[in-house]
Amino acid sequence: MKSGLNKVRFNPFLLFLLGIFLLTSLSCKKEDTQITPKDPSPPPASQYGSLYLEFSHVVDAQLLEFGKKYLNPSGDTFTVSKFMYYISNLVLVKEDNSLFTQAESYFLVDASKSSSTKISINSVPYGKYKSIRFVLGVDSIRNVAGAQTGALDPANGMFWNWNTGYIMLKLEGAAPSSTVFGNTIEYHMGGYKGVNKTQRSFEIGFNSLTAQVAQDKNPKIRLQTNINEMFSNPNTVRFATLPIVTSSGANAKLIADNYQDMITFIGLE
């Protein structure tokens, strides 16, 4: 069948060159996403090991259990039925301040799935690490990059379809003081750009300990995520006045400013 393409004049040779150019620049893209240690002299292939991150979930001093009653910092009772968030852009900082960046690091932590609360980082160059950096949420680039898969698959329910963007953190439950039908509380934290961004960067030191990755050493860094950090410091959030936040904007920013220190170091194994 004849196509409208004929209307547009192509120089076949130029098209050919363009094709080669596109192919060379496209087909090797995979290479870029390989692990790229910032270390000036990357170690030989054999000198890589694993390191683990383990998240535990608490409401202040109590371990999180779905359905159990807790008090927020203002003394309002609430229960939790869902708690999920993204951890992305992992970077390990060595003792000498050189960096190991884990490429393609996007993880969805779901408090109801124990398998998701342990993150393993493989192919970490041998060495002693003193801190870890990551983003709670998804960086703005992946929010504007089109269809994604794996942890970022929109089927995971952490994506807004009508107003493109990832839900960085999702907390659902109930509170007697919530005025909404069913006393629901619902915090779907999203918004990735400008003043309304809800992703937050963390750098967490290991309390002057170092995590050593070596042939027989695969350290586990234990982190703790405290839900009550969402409701105070610096902004007091009460269930009676703000039971639901499911779009980006000023209210989402209030809570994001609270949770920017919700994850802390609790130990190294």
Binding site: G4, K7, L23, G249
Partner: protein, 349 residues
């Protein structure tokens, strides 16, 4: 030109590169045999989306087309994208002012035409979707459109022998993922081009406009082109053209996406290509004729909240000038597209 030689050398070279980089050699971006490919018509700006991370293949296009016309994408398996976006109306929906989804549920907006989508900078009437590949999940999961969960769609397609084969052809194995679905749908809807209207032929020196149409064209450039900018006939900016608010819908447009007063009642400027075929008009399908649209600009602008500065005094047009502009708008219909079987429902071919 000898496309055979070009494409076969292209193929050899590309295979070499693919081999080197251990990428599945099946994903070779050769042009489909029915000649659908990425195109930038002469004199057009560069598109906003270039398929650089979604290389076009014939199998990808065929999968995308099958998905576009696939009712399995809806909860009760009755509605496909093609139910609301019909080829013969440039992929708009002429039957309905507001869209009709599963169980005859009424949507809140009119289905726009789909063509030249790779030039759009955002999608939907409120521009809430920032990427062409992220558009399909919106209608699939919208409870008044297709009302289905993405997980279920993946399961239904994975269970279908037909789709396991189509995914294998397009991506080198049978695995169904939402990412593959959306990239394939993008290869279909992103390659729907419209650049073969009488106006285009005129610009290429291959057709004449009559006197009325010519007068209409210069009036158009004077009065409409600031927003409905040629050659795409939109600048895709989100703004208010002063339509009175329909209280039964109370659609605040961009305000739903960015809830600040300065965004209320703003909608994406639509392209006027194929406009004679995409009635009814405006985000809620309130006007059934182009005459009503023109009358809106001369006397119907009543909602002054956030009204675009260009329309503060409306647009002055005599009835004769309106008739000329109307005649020009009719030259924007791309009859080749409207009957292009490459984009038709493959289940009825």
């Amino acid at each position: 030109m000898k496309p055979g030689i070009v494409y076969s050398s292209l193929f050899i070279f590309s295979s070499l590169f693919f081999f080197n980089c251990k990428v599945d050699p099946k994903i070779v971006p050769v042009l489909p045999s029915d000649n659908i490919s990425e195109t930038v018509p002469e004199g057009w700006p560069q598109p906003n989306y270039t398929f650089s991370t979604n290389p076009v293949s014939e199998a990808g296009f065929i999968l995308g087309r099958a998905l576009f016309y696939e009712t399995l994408l809806s909860k009760d398996n009755t509605i496909s994208c093609g139910s609301c976006h019909q080829l013969t109306s440039a992929f708009a929906n002429t039957d309905h002012k507001l869209s009709h989804g599963i169980n005859d549920l009424l949507g809140r907006r009119n289905a726009p035409g789909l063509f030249n989508l790779t030039w759009h900078t955002s999608f939907m009437h409120d521009g809430g979707i920032n990427h062409i590949e992220n558009q399909p999940p919106a209608p699939i999961t919208n409870t008044v459109e297709m009302g289905e969960e993405l997980e279920n769609v993946v399961q239904k397609l994975q269970a279908s022998e037909k789709y396991r084969k189509l995914f294998n052809d397009a991506f080198g194995d049978e695995l169904v993922t939402t990412q593959r679905m959306f990239k394939a749908i993008t290869q279909f809807q992103g390659l729907i081009y419209s650049y073969d209207s009488k106006y285009d032929d005129y610009k290429r020196g291959k057709a004449q406009l009559n006197e009325t149409e010519k007068r209409g064209y210069s009036l158009f450039l004077d009065k409409c082109n600031a927003c409905h900018k040629e050659p795409l006939f939109s600048d895709f900016v989100i703004r208010s053209n002063g339509l009175p608010v329909d209280p039964s819908l109370n659609d605040i447009g961009r305000g739903f996406i960015e809830n600040q007063p300065q965004n209320y009642y703003k909608f994406k400027t639509p392209s006027l290509r194929n406009i004679s075929k995409t009635a009814p008009y405006m985000h809620d399908g309130r006007f059934s004729t182009l005459q009503q649209c023109l009358n809106h600009y001369t006397g119907g602008i009543t909602n002054l909240t956030n009204l675009d500065p260009l329309l503060q005094n409306g647009i002055s047009m005599t009835e004769a000038e309106k008739a000329d502009i109307l005649a020009f708008l009719l030259t924007l219909t791309d009859y080749k597209l409207l009957s292009d079987q490459r984009f038709a429902d493959p289940n009825f071919q």
